[in-house]
Symmetry: C2
Subunit: 262 residues, 2 copies
């Protein structure tokens, strides 16, 4: 170990200055064990000019970003990501039956509760894409699908804090329209999946415990009565950030249309 650490003393990590007065550490070697890496990183830091005052900005499985603010002005390095995006796939067919699953794992695992599919959006995945994927795969672990759907709108969203580690959660409840009625069950995470009459779905005892779920039930009934408008995705170009890709703007399209048609 002492020996390997002395070899490492000769190596330095590749690092580049970023736009914020910090340094980005890059790993060129694809495979390097933690111990070797940390010994090299330690040696590298001792060789960087602004050694003191570095702090962690963020880390992903493949890299760790250290930053250091050189300027005298207030530090304006963009904050680290604070939120995870969760999606619920609320799928109702023409017979007013809700797509429900019984999960093997997770919060509802083994409780016998029939719930709508939920999951976490992947990095870079749009909410309207993630919801359709969750209805199709439920977890993404398996390729077996539950049901094909098309996105209708975001009915509501909930922001909660300290929901995983010290991070926050934005949970988007999405209304989806089924494109098929046959349900296949993927074994990995789901006990079972089926269409359940809405009245039967809302009558489940566990609803008592979840104000959020009761709100969603009320929202759906208002939706059926034609009173409720959620937010639908509209592709937009440009943004306040520098990326020029298309981004989805979620808005009350019905409210806009009614106005424009006047």
């Amino acid at each position: 170990m002492t020996c390997s650490s002395e070899e490492n003393q000769l190596q330095l990590l590749t690092s580049t200055d970023d736009d914020y007065g910090g340094v980005i550490v890059q790993i060129d070697q694809s495979a390097m064990d933690s111990t070797t890496f940390l010994s090299i990183l330690r040696h590298s830091i001792s060789n960087w000019k602004h050694q003191e005052g570095f702090w962690y900005h963020h880390a992903e499985p493949k890299y760790l970003m250290l930053v250091h603010w050189i300027a005298d002005s207030a530090n304006t390095i963009p904050a680290n990501a604070t939120h995870r995006v969760g999606v619920a796939a609320f799928v109702v067919n023409e017979k007013q039956e809700v797509l429900v699953v019984q999960e093997k794992t997770g919060h509802f695992g083994g409780t016998g509760s029939w719930k709508f599919p939920t999951g976490v959006a992947d990095q870079g995945e749009d909410i309207c894409v993630a919801a359709v994927r969750e209805a199709k795969e439920e977890t993404g672990v398996s390729n077996l699908f539950v049901v094909d759907t098309e996105f209708v709108e975001v009915l509501a969203f909930r922001q909660s804090h300290m929901s995983f580690f010290e991070k926050s959660d934005l949970f988007f409840v999405c209304l989806l329209r089924p494109l098929s009625f046959d349900i296949k069950v993927q074994e990995v995470e789901i006990e079972a999946a089926k269409w359940m009459p809405f009245d039967e779905y809302v009558a489940q005892p566990f609803m008592e415990k979840y104000e959020l779920l009761r709100y969603i039930n009320d929202i759906y009934l208002a939706k059926v009565d034609g009173h409720y408008s959620g937010f639908t995705p509209v592709p937009t170009k440009s943004s306040f950030s520098n990326q020029q890709n298309t981004s989805y703007l979620y808005l009350n399209a019905g409210g806009l249309k009614r106005c424009n048609s006047l």
Copy 2:
């Protein structure tokens, strides 16, 4: 350096197993420079049982989380945070004047454009709180305020990817009602702030470049005509996560009311 690193060989970092089969590294010493820490961390890792296969989960200024999945089953460690939450404070007074600022820094810095206040939500800060704060402080850097407001609703939100480092952005456009009409200017980030007639605001040339801003203008006009409903925050208890605090559910409250009143 060799000497200090040999002293460090004697130390081990405090670490506790987390619920996901990983290890949480905790820093007991309040102040420790990067080099010393990394040398201790390196030694600690070499002493942990499941040394091989550790990878970065996430890092905050004060800690770095390494994780290792022990079980044979698929890794279900919660994903790292993927999104930053941005807020826009769209404040309009009774004279249909928009609260606009000219920023010294940032995307619009020095362009002479008059824009509504925007900013990034702090960790653990609710969207409806962040929007009011941005209208009051604009950046939070200074305590001098722009204008006191109360939150009305989320008019729309935009999701964009690769907007900072490799992370995504959720940008919530919030309608706020002013509680006062006197505007104080905080010097740090704002050139100036004032009330600008809506027509004058939308007539600014830079609007051409921002489809998002034009959508917000249309939404506001629909709102004035009484056709547009955004999402308002409703406090809810419990959640799919284990935290039992109050979380805000954002929904079309008007749509729900109309239905319940039938």
